[in-house]
């Protein structure tokens, strides 16, 4: 399968073989943002969390918001890719790799947010030494590390044939590719084992992924606090996570399509399908949000209503209505008709959802804390430059990881594209025939009748 003479997909190897000025400019810019984040963290580590805008009672702010947001983005990936693989969606081929990369990279960033948030990061090993399983934070630690492990495996296994292509075709980094290719020769037996492993992992990661964002939501819903204690938080968070994940995936696809000239691989049809998926998730997200807020409003408990009005018309109204605008109004308007200018519309919708889902996480975390039950007075939260620095640095670090990955490995799975051409076409035709009513037999029988 890894025929070295096959140069049709050379475009996918260009970013690895050649490095242009754009790459250095990008890395330079990202490094500046990361530097800001690093200075911010050093300041915080040195002086204490006092350099942030956090206080009593808003003791969680940007970091916890970022944690929920980034872990949510990770659902792009592995989950979408697994579902598309299992449902044998042929259009998945140029998408799965990018989705899987997002998951792995963003999980590091997301888990890192909790470490940034700790008052005593030097004692973080206490979680292992004295871990208490009654705490939802331990559930998070377990679930996220399982997801990270599974996602790395699930990213790596389908990369093996591509690494073998790199080993055979690219002059650079021979040792790295040889080791990572695990002696892949593309024999029939190897291919069979590989496909089986991918299938097993695809099934395995789905429940793990669902568990991840459920337990993230449990951090909030297991407490007694108003507007946090909600039974739908698990599924609500999972839906939001898949929603933001698809948006992030589309943005990443468009960026690399432009940067590496992948127009031949990532066609408007791919964005149309993903756009439709995004539309469905947007509607589903709205349904959950509506159900959540209507229940709180109708019940009319004083403590819940404090938080409710703080979001609706109180100090948090720009965030709340901004969230409704960016998560529902804009995406639905953009995506409801995707006939023309598909790519532009899908891009606007995805960027909008990325912002909107961050706002959604913020609007869940902060208003509840800022409206305590007892008469303390409201706490208004203003992040400082430290928190903005961490936010910028986190996004930049994620982007940098991604860019570096594309310099080492193909960002679109080469062997799967080839498989699509060589095997997929025929397979789909055969499969399609099995879907249709069995008209073949009577037709075969007809000539007999003629005799």
């Amino acid at each position: 399968m890894a025929d070295p003479a096959d140069t049709r997909d050379a475009a996918l190897l260009f970013p690895i073989e050649l490095t242009g000025r754009g790459f250095y400019v990008t890395v330079g810019l990202l490094s500046l943002l990361i530097l800001w984040g690093a200075i911010a963290y050093w300041t915080q580590f040195d002086e204490g969390l006092g350099v942030t805008g956090l206080h009593q009672p808003v003791s969680w702010g940007f970091y916890v918001t970022n944690f929920v947001f980034f872990i949510g983005i990770s659902h792009a990936g592995t989950l979408i890719s697994a579902i598309l693989r299992l449902s044998k969606a042929e259009w998945r081929r140029p998408i799965t790799r990018m989705a899987e990369v997002i998951t792995v990279m963003v999980l590091f960033i997301g888990a890192g947010q909790i470490l940034i948030d700790l008052g005593r990061p030097d004692r973080m090993m206490n979680i292992i030494r004295y871990g208490r399983y009654q705490s939802p934070l331990l559930w998070d630690a377990t679930s996220i590390s399982a997801y990270l492990t599974a996602s790395i495996v699930y990213l790596y296994i389908p990369m093996i044939p591509d690494i073998a292509i790199l080993r055979d075709r690219v002059g650079k980094r021979k040792l790295l590719y040889t080791v990572l290719a695990l002696g892949w020769q593309g024999t029939e037996h190897q291919q069979k084992v590989l496909n089986r492993a991918i299938a097993i992992m695809a099934v395995l990661v789905i429940p793990i992924a669902v568990s991840v964002h459920s337990v993230v939501s449990f951090v909030f819903s297991m407490t007694l606090q108003p507007m946090w204690r909600s039974t739908i938080f698990g599924p609500y968070f999972v839906v939001g996570a898949i929603f933001s994940g698809i948006a992030a995936l589309i943005v990443a696809m468009l960026v690399f399509r432009k940067a590496y000239g992948l127009h031949g691989y990532l066609k408007p049809i791919h964005f149309r399908y993903l756009g439709q998926l995004l539309l469905v998730m947007s509607l589903l997200w709205f349904y959950f949000t509506f159900a959540e807020y209507l229940t709180a409003y109708y019940g009319n408990e004083p403590e819940e209503m404090h938080v409710f009005w703080a979001k609706f018309s109180g100090p948090f109204w720009p965030f709340f209505w901004g969230m409704v605008l960016t998560n529902f109004v804009i995406p639905v308007l953009c995506l409801v008709r995707l006939g023309r200018r598909t790519i532009g519309k899908v891009l606007i919708a995805s960027l909008s959802v990325t912002v909107g889902m961050w706002l959604e996480r913020f609007i869940i975390v902060v208003p509840t804390l800022s409206n305590p039950r007892l008469p303390f007075g409201e706490g208004i939260y203003f992040p400082t430059w430290v928190e903005w620095g961490e936010l910028a640095g986190s996004f930049a670090l994620f982007a940098l990881f991604f860019v570096l990955f594309t310099k080492l490995f193909p960002v679109i799975s080469i062997w799967e594209i080839r498989e699509g051409r060589e095997v997929g076409l025929k397979e789909v035709e055969e499969r399609l025939l099995t879907y249709l009513p069995d008209t073949a037999e009577p037709r075969l029988a007809e000539p007999e009748r003629g005799w």
Binding site: S59, Q225, L374
Partner: protein, 227 residues
């Protein structure tokens, strides 16, 4: 085994804040300074909450001294990932400063906002501090412990004198300091104690009772003839 508890008679409370100051001195609670105070970072294990009377706005204020309520079913201990906060057998909700990782989950979970965070290193060990109470480092959560060190001290004294701990020998600093004698401290499991009797008063209520946290700080409502 004893079950330590407190009764606060709101009819007697004048809002003088003596309990607050006594607590700060007793427990080495740091003064955070005006700038930090404006940013909402005052640490005050005992805090007198004030609320304007709805009927006579601007004229009558109501006071509610709030220490840690030492719940029997504490929402904060359940969520701690490292066992840094727990309910001890005598009902006191303790905090292990040397183990706390500063995730502030307990602060987010406490419905009474009775937990406080050291946003900076607010103080160093210095003369004049109470040597029985450790000074907290930056980045950890701290809270009212019912002056637990006083219990340890009283118990050791009793042990040295080969006798049982006498009722009234262990009292918190706030109860001791209250000039109106609004705060009564003692063993809720001892039928002879004053807290036992007061906790069963028809005026007795607990804060946010409906949450099921079962606080061991019990309030007595203001009577009819106040003002």
């Amino acid at each position: 085994m004893a079950l330590w508890g407190m009764v606060i008679d709101l009819d007697r409370c004048t809002g003088c804040q003596a309990c607050v100051m006594a607590c700060k001195a007793e427990n080495n609670v740091p003064a955070v300074g005006a700038k930090e105070a404006r940013r909402g970072r005052i640490i005050s294990w005992m805090q007198v909450l004030t609320e304007e009377e709805e009927e006579h706005g601007g004229e009558v204020k109501r006071f509610l001294p709030r220490p840690c309520l030492q719940c029997d079913n504490p929402p904060c201990t359940k969520v701690c990932p490292v066992y840094a906060t727990y309910r001890n057998p005598e009902g006191i909700v303790a905090q292990i400063y040397a183990r706390c990782i500063g995730c502030r989950f307990c602060m987010a979970a406490c419905p009474y906002n009775a937990k406080y965070f050291n946003w900076y290193r607010y103080q160093k060990e210095a003369p004049g501090q109470n040597p029985d109470v450790s000074v907290r480092s930056k980045g950890v959560v701290e809270k009212c412990t019912f002056c637990h060190h006083r219990l340890q001290k009283a118990r050791e004294r009793a042990l040295a004198e080969r006798r049982e701990l006498a009722p009234g020998e262990y009292v918190t600093a706030c109860a001791e300091a209250c000039p109106a004698r609004a705060i009564v401290f003692g063993d809720l499991s001892d039928p002879g104690s004053e807290v036992f009797r007061l906790a069963r008063s028809p005026r007795a209520f607990r804060l946010q009772e409906e949450l099921g946290t079962r606080p061991k700080v019990i309030y007595l409502t203001e009577g009819e003839g106040r003002g």
